[in-house]
């Protein structure tokens, strides 16, 4: 794997990238994705970039710019039409299907619609993520309360999702994403359904998670958030990588 990676490296314009912090966690190497429904209009066109361990990145762009495709490629829900994607030195384009679950155990995912199970309590929802990857009861009993304390929901263990506010539900979903301590956390519009103040709280939480060394990638529409936080910004426009900027701003005229 490393040899493949070093072969790929000279093709990358490393100097223009953000300052490297250790090994790249994610490498996109001339990635193009074309959906069969729209053969003329690639969802992603020749995207090349690297993301390093411990970074906090905003992925911005209008609807249809390719943000979701970018995320689905990372979790290997879909494969690129051409180009190579590496996550933690593993080539996703040649990865065997049975390995995919193990890839996903290393990637936490948070979505706009929370994706919580309504018939399970907060504790059970978070525990579910550990249960289904075969963790022991002991691990579940110690890690779940700990991660719920981290997201500030220690007092809601036995509540059901519909008894919580939107912000609290999103915290549960973040707790579920990080309870297995993945090195990479991907958030697709995590504040899309929330009011600005609640969003601020969620972003603070993501920043705190980032400070523990987790790489955080946030796809968002939230201009104010991006402008305030001044983190690395990757901008996509109709499938093209238009901007990759350290300490950037949202930058699109709405």
């Amino acid at each position: 794997m490393t040899s493949q990676l070093s072969q790929a490296l000279p093709m990358l314009e490393v100097d223009e990238m953000a300052a490297p912090m250790g090994a790249p966690v994610i490498t996109f190497d001339h990635v193009t994705k074309t959906y069969p429904a729209q053969p003329k209009k690639p969802a992603l066109h020749d995207v090349t970039l690297q993301i390093f361990a411990g970074e906090f990145i905003f992925l911005v762009g209008h609807s249809g710019s390719g943000k979701s495709t970018f995320i689905r490629l990372l979790t290997r829900e879909i494969k690129p039409t051409s180009g190579k994607i590496y996550v933690a030195d593993e080539d996703l384009t040649t990865m065997r299907n049975w390995r995919v679950p193990y890839l996903r155990r290393n990637i936490g995912c948070v979505f706009q619609d929370f994706k919580l199970l309504p018939n399970k309590t907060v504790f059970e929802n978070v525990a579910f993520a550990l249960e289904v990857i075969g963790k022991s009861r002991h691990v579940i009993k110690t890690q779940v309360p700990e991660v719920l304390r981290l997201v500030g929901l220690s007092d809601k263990l036995n509540s059901y999702p519909d008894q919580l506010s939107g912000g609290q539900q999103q915290r549960v979903s973040i707790a579920r994403a990080i309870v297995n301590r993945p090195p990479l956390l991907i958030c697709d519009e995590p504040t899309g359904n929330l009011d600005p103040q609640t969003s601020r709280g969620i972003m603070d939480l993501l920043e705190r998670i980032n400070r523990t060394g987790t790489t955080v990638l946030v796809a968002t529409h939230d201009r104010e958030m991006v402008d305030n936080m001044r983190r690395r910004v990757i901008a996509l426009d109709r499938g093209h990588l238009t901007r990759d900027q350290d300490r950037g701003v949202y930058g699109f005229d709405v």
Partner: protein
Amino acid sequence: MSSLFYFFKESLQGFARNLSTTLGSIITIFLSLLIIGVFLVSGSIVERLVSSIEEEVSITAYVADDAPQESIDGLMAQIQSIDGVASVGFTTKEQALENFSNSMTTNPEIIEQLDGTNPLPASIDVDLADPQKVDEIAASIEADETFRSICDEPDNPADSLKYGQKTVDKLFSVTKYVRYLGVALVLLLVFIALVFINNTIRLAIMARRKEIAIMRLVGASNGFIRGPFLMEGALHALIGSLLAVGVLQLLRMYGIPRLQSALSFLSLDVSGNTYLMIYIVLVVAGLVIGLLGSAFAMRLYLKV
């Protein structure tokens, strides 16, 4: 171990969630396997009957009413000299009628309808020492010139010879069609059971759609996602096949003895080992149907 427990828990929840379809698939499996079982049991009864007839190694040669006594005596001496023949006896027309009326005591009206005439031919009864040679000896009697001239049906001497093998052949020509019909019916039933299990598991998958999406998201292995559904299909099949085995056992204990007393001239006895084999076959077939049905459903509705 803990994940097996988890599969079991989840599949039991699946039972409760889709009670009516679950019952439906259990009942179809139960009925299919019961019918398969009944076929197997009756098949082995017939097989026992056939082999007991095959073991009956006597040949009856019917002779014409007007055959001269010296030809009959000559033929009997001739047959006695054939290698493998133990003894030769003679049944007159009168004795034949008496034997017939003795075996027909339950419906004497058949005898009354004869109106005093005697349609039964006299016969030479040949007992064999070596059952293996029955065909050979029958052929040499058939080829005998004297027999050809005095046999009951001179046009076709072979018809005047009766021995176990012929009865067996006739029985086989009937059982062959019954067997084809049985196989077709069984295949149809297996197909229906597969469709039912397939549908039940499909509903179980639909009901757990959200959970499956989250399991994929957090990296549950494919085996872990599939496990509960395979377990559910296998459990349906197991319950169905155990029910079928139970009903067959009840039939064996209460049904067969009643049938036996009604058909006292046939032996319906089949050894306990045969029953055990049939039960094992049914349970294994049920498990295969259950696992296949859920595997089909997962291929169709659970793309991992």
